[in-house]
């Protein structure tokens, strides 16, 4: 699927036109339509998981899990609550969205929230993964023609400036997911059109001593394993580093061994990793070797856990290669996070540590990440912030 500039322009005009009808519908109507479309899409993703698996490089069980957990957040009550947060503002006439390919369901919030708030959306799908946005569009169309007309998908090669101009010309804001280079390049060409940037990011987790003692450790292991394995650790919300508070009763090595044996190993069967691309495999071999040379490495069939000191950070290539970092407590963990700055998107924390982690992030002059409990890092609620802003950032007239 590839569109030329005239086709992109025509679709942009049609989507813009549909905005009036979309806004004429009530908020309740829009929420009903979207909730129903989410249910429809979840069923279709279940039936089409093999095709989606081939398109995304994730295993079929992972595709089903991702679709179920993401679309499960599109509930009427959650949407109405979100709309309440943003009440009293005038929506922009149209949003254009440029999607990346690393997490296929990332498009859902980026499309559903504008539609809920009365903003029609034209989506430029990643050339590598256009299937899911098209499925979403088709689900919207089946539920209600007014909703369906308010969202469309185009595809063209990156760097096609004519198509890109056609994509953004009618938009009142442009939301871009992708590498920092992609975001910067598009920003430079947008002129006065506001940009909502979703550039590179990484996430980390923190487990305090209580998570290893008072809370049943099995829960901590299950939660962390899910956060690590979801989307094969390819996304901005995937924890790359897990800071572990070491005490005389709990060693990082003991925890790493249990994480591997009781968490990541079993999850290889229930949510298997997708095929490892050779390019990632080459990086994985280097990362694992360095981890083994510099610290401890526990290697499974399709995952690895390294134990390393906080500095220097050596980012893994993802794909279920995670680093445990022993620290003396939250103070040391936050100090270790600070150099990551605004690239840090999310901090998962055990439920006991979460309030303190939230307070520390709020007080930090250099960190803008949000905090959530481990086990939910990859399944943000509909109203979770994105890149330090409310999810509806950029969707209203200023």
């Amino acid at each position: 699927m590839s569109d030329d500039a005239s086709a992109v322009g025509a679709r942009a005009a049609a989507v813009l036109d549909a905005g009036g009808v979309l806004r004429a519908a009530t908020l309740e109507e829009r929420a009903d339509w979207l909730a129903e479309a989410a249910l429809t899409l979840e069923r279709e993703a279940h039936h089409g998981s093999k095709t989606l698996s081939e398109a995304t490089g994730l295993s079929a069980p992972m595709v089903e899990w991702a679709a179920r957990t993401t679309l499960g957040t599109i509930r009427k009550d959650a949407m109405l609550a979100l709309a309440q947060e943003a009440r009293g503002r005038s929506p922009i006439a149209m949003l254009s969205v440029v999607l990346a390919a690393n997490v296929f369901t990332a498009s859902v919030r980026g499309i559903v929230v504008p539609l809920l708030l009365g903003v029609p959306v034209l989506v430029k799908a990643s050339s590598r993964e256009a299937l899911f946005p098209v499925m979403l569009r088709d689900a919207l169309r089946r539920i209600d023609s007014r909703l369906g007309a308010s969202m469309d998908v185009v595809a063209f090669g990156g760097g096609d400036l004519e198509c890109e101009a056609a994509l953004v010309t009618l938009a009142e804001a442009v939301s871009v997911y992708g590498s920092d280079e992609t975001v910067e390049a598009i920003a430079a060409r947008l002129g006065d059109i506001p940009l909502v940037a979703h550039g590179h990011g990484v996430s980390v987790a923190y487990c305090g001593a209580d998570a290893l003692a008072k809370v049943p450790i099995g829960d901590t292991i299950a939660d962390l394993s899910l956060d690590i394995c979801a989307y094969d650790q390819r996304g901005c919300l995937s924890p790359q580093l897990v800071y572990i508070e070491e005490t005389t009763q709990s060693s990082a090595e003991h925890f790493a061994r249990r994480l591997a044996d009781e968490g990541l190993g079993p999850m290889s069967k229930t949510l298997p990793r997708g095929p490892l691309p050779l390019s990632i495999g080459a990086a994985q071999a280097q990362w694992r070797g360095i981890a083994e040379v510099e610290g401890t490495l526990i290697r499974g069939h399709d995952y690895a856990v390294a134990i390393r000191p906080p500095q220097p950070i050596r980012w893994s290539p993802g794909f279920r290669n995670v680093t445990l970092v022993p620290v003396r407590g939250l103070d040391e963990a936050v100090r270790a996070m600070e150099p990551i700055g605004t690239n840090l998107k999310c901090v998962g924390a055990d439920s006991v540590s979460l309030p303190e982690v939230q307070a520390r992030l709020a007080a930090s002059p250099v960190l803008s990440a949000y905090a959530c409990t481990t086990g939910t890092m990859q399944t943000p609620s509909l109203n979770a912030p994105a890149d330090g802003h409310p999810i509806w950032h950029g969707l209203f007239q200023t």
Binding site: I280, G289, H301, P312, R314, P317
Partner: protein, 354 residues
């Protein structure tokens, strides 16, 4: 119990046997790799920490050479230190040598077999800096040795960080007129600079002339598809494609591999272009998860066991993608790690954490 002296002797005998035209048994090489690795693991703590997977000793990732000194001898005994290109210290691999005897021996025998099998010496034109301009480059060191071992005369046409096009043209015209074959040796990016600078000039180098290119681009010139560059320089210099070969070397290695086409053209045989692996090396595409050899001609990541790496680590895991082809190896280039790495790579760069 192996000692450095006995291991060194065994490596030399392996290379000498090949030089003398004797058959080198893979089993002897494999046993030497095993013994070398065991000896190195006791002397290089970083290597000693790696766990064995499968039948072969573990392979040390090339990236480790960027972060740690990998040597079986103390720094005070370094005779020469080679560094890969790069702008910051963390981007540069460092390979320390206690002596260069094995390096020289392996380089000379391999080049004699694959690059100069038909001539004792010949005229050399080198598209690379002189050794004194880049004293920590293993490539420049090797080319300087080639000048000593194989050159009748040698002209270095890369000066003060740039290609001297006038001198290159003069040398090539002079070679055309002399009716004497010439070997033009250089980096791939230098050949691209020559392509960009020589305009419409073409040369008809004498039969027996040959070109050897090595290395990647590393941002030093525009990148050119290898097939397109081969065609372009074949036309430019008037040298048939089989007489244009790639050399594969790396800072972390002491031996080199060469394309087979020149040797086969001289021997009157024909085969697909592939890298010849010297019998004192083992080059194996491996599965990135298991690190075990892939089957048949499947693509894997290239592991190289180089017995000439006596004082560092013999078993090396590269990031190059490769596959077996006939009796050789085809290197498909460095894996482009950026694309599917999600959001991590740019943060990595932004933080300067590597």
């Amino acid at each position: 119990m192996s000692t450095r002296a006995t291991l060194r002797g065994r490596i030399e005998r392996l290379i000498s046997s090949f030089e003398a035209g004797e058959r080198v048994e893979a089993a002897a090489r494999d046993q030497l790799i095993e013994d070398l690795a065991a000896w190195q693991a006791t002397r290089i703590s970083e290597y000693g920490r790696l766990q064995r997977h499968g039948a072969w000793p573990p392979a040390l990732p090339t990236d480790v050479f960027r972060f740690r000194r990998i040597a079986a001898h103390p720094e005070v005994e370094d005779r020469r230190v080679f560094r890969s290109s790069g702008t910051t210290s963390s981007e540069r691999s460092v390979h320390a040598y206690r002596d260069l005897g094995l390096y020289d021996f392996a380089a000379r025998v391999a080049a004699r077999h694959m690059l100069f099998p038909d001539v004792e010496r010949m005229r050399l034109v080198i598209l690379a800096p002189r050794e004194d301009e880049a004293p920590d480059s293993s490539l420049e060191y090797m080319l300087a040795r080639f000048a000593q071992w194989f050159g009748t005369e040698c002209t270095w046409v890369w000066r003060h960080g740039a290609l001297d096009l006038e001198l290159l043209t003069e040398q090539l015209r002079s070679a055309e007129a002399s009716e004497e074959p010439v070997a033009v040796l250089g980096t791939s990016f230098a050949f691209v600079h020559a392509e960009d600078g020589l305009g419409r000039q073409q040369f008809e180098l004498q039969p027996g002339s040959r070109l050897m290119q090595t290395g990647g681009y590393k941002g030093r010139s525009r990148e050119v598809d290898p097939e397109a560059l081969l065609t372009a320089i074949s036309t430019r210099y008037g040298v048939a494609a089989p007489w244009i070969i790639n050399e594969f070397g790396a800072t972390e290695l002491s031996s080199q591999m060469y394309d087979t086409t020149l040797r086969e053209a001289i021997d009157g045989s024909v085969g697909p272009r592939r890298l010849w692996v010297p019998p004192w090396m083992r080059a194996t595409p491996v599965d990135p998860d298991t690190l075990q050899p892939v089957k048949g001609e499947a693509i894997g990541i290239l592991r190289i066991d180089d017995t000439a790496n006596l004082d560092s680590v013999c078993c090396i895991q590269t990031s190059d993608l490769a596959k077996r082809l006939d009796d050789g190896i085809v290197v498909l280039g460095r894996a482009p790690g950026a694309t599917p790495r999600g959001c991590s790579l740019a943060a990595d760069q932004a933080l300067g954490a590597r």
